[in-house]
Amino acid sequence: MNILASFKNVAVKSPWIYRINAGSCNGCDVEMATCALIPRYDVERLGCQYCGSPRHADIVLISGPLTRRVLDATRRVFDEVPEPKVTVAVGVCPISGGIFRESYAVLAPIDQYFPVDVNVPGCPPRPQAIIEGVAKAIEIWRERL
């Protein structure tokens, strides 16, 4: 049992990240893609890596208010991520719809459709906040491994 636990402690140092854009204005995506990986705010030091395929991912970052059009596609991509996984909602859009709230075209809050574990509010959130969100997600992920 002890060996398994120590292996889990090692495994938790390698969370790979996948981004899903569920109708975001791209503001959050720019923060995630460029800010979190540029010299100043380096998520790679947590062992993170952005991956191109959802099948490689451990932590899913969803941004955007989830428009009606992308619901189906988002669900399908989300199901492609193998267990155990953790979901982080980035931006205020997934929480309440943000500036798109009360629109006929959006389905926010997205936790009606996806099991959101961590919310990172902000429009867009600061890179530090995103990294903190990822760090929180890693804590949750450790329990699920």
Binding site: V10, V12, K13, S14, L37, E44, R45
Partner: protein
Amino acid sequence: MSNQIAILIAVFLFPGGLFALALGLGLKGADRRVAARLQGRVGPPLAQPFFDLVKLSFKTSMVPTTANETVFFGAPVVGAVSMLLAVALVPIAGVYTPPTLLGNLLVLLYLLMVPGVALMIAGSASSSPYGALGFTREMMIMLAYEGPIVLVVAAVALHTGALQGGVVTFSLTEIVAYQRANGAFLFDPVMWPAIAAFALFFPANLGIVPFDIPEAETEILEGPLLEYSGPALGLFKVMSALKAVVVLGLGIALFAPFGPDGILGLVTWLVEILVLMLLGVTAIRLSSGRMRIDQAFGFFLKWPLMLAAASLVAVVAA
């Protein structure tokens, strides 16, 4: 009997198996760390590739419903095993000579092609359109780099053979022994074009920028690897870690087998391989962008082929 045990040790413990795996993962870690530092980031810990591997073993493996399951899981196994054998074929100057029973330079060349083929099969077995794209790209780039590498190896084999008074020798052990007695080919002008051709070959064989076209993650989402997850993906990571050791080790054995006998020789070899990795892989990876497949194809049929042929002609004429 003792021969079989020697082979088993060579394949599973040293220099193959555990040792090579640790070295390959360490090299990848060093590559990522140095790359991050050069970009002004902190970067991941040195053991990061090892963490990744452990993590992948905890994940579930998913199989696409349209995929052929046997082939889908067979491909990574074949790739990893071929590299396990290949490492045992690479001599380390003054430390390790591969058992003759295992094979020679030609066997090694064939084994070096297997990972590419495994990736191609994996891509097509996954039945994803991106996998199929990766398949065609992998095939094209293999066609492009196989020519030059065969010529490079032929040049070295003929050169050693002629210098030894024979015609040609395909035994890596003899090639290394000759260089240790008479000076490395690194200082032999006849071999310089071949060395340049080899330097261009190994980024393509290892699948890194600018020749990572078959696995371009921003274009075709990692191509053949797209549908893989969990332990099967881990096996592909093992394969590429071992491949780095094989290709770099082959380069050292062919052109620069320095180092005294014993433990110091091993240390020299490790330093050499690390320097090669950082200069030949990290530096190139960071300072260039990805080529298009037609550009890469044209490039390989022009420069490396010409350089390797130049060496070969010089060797034959001499």
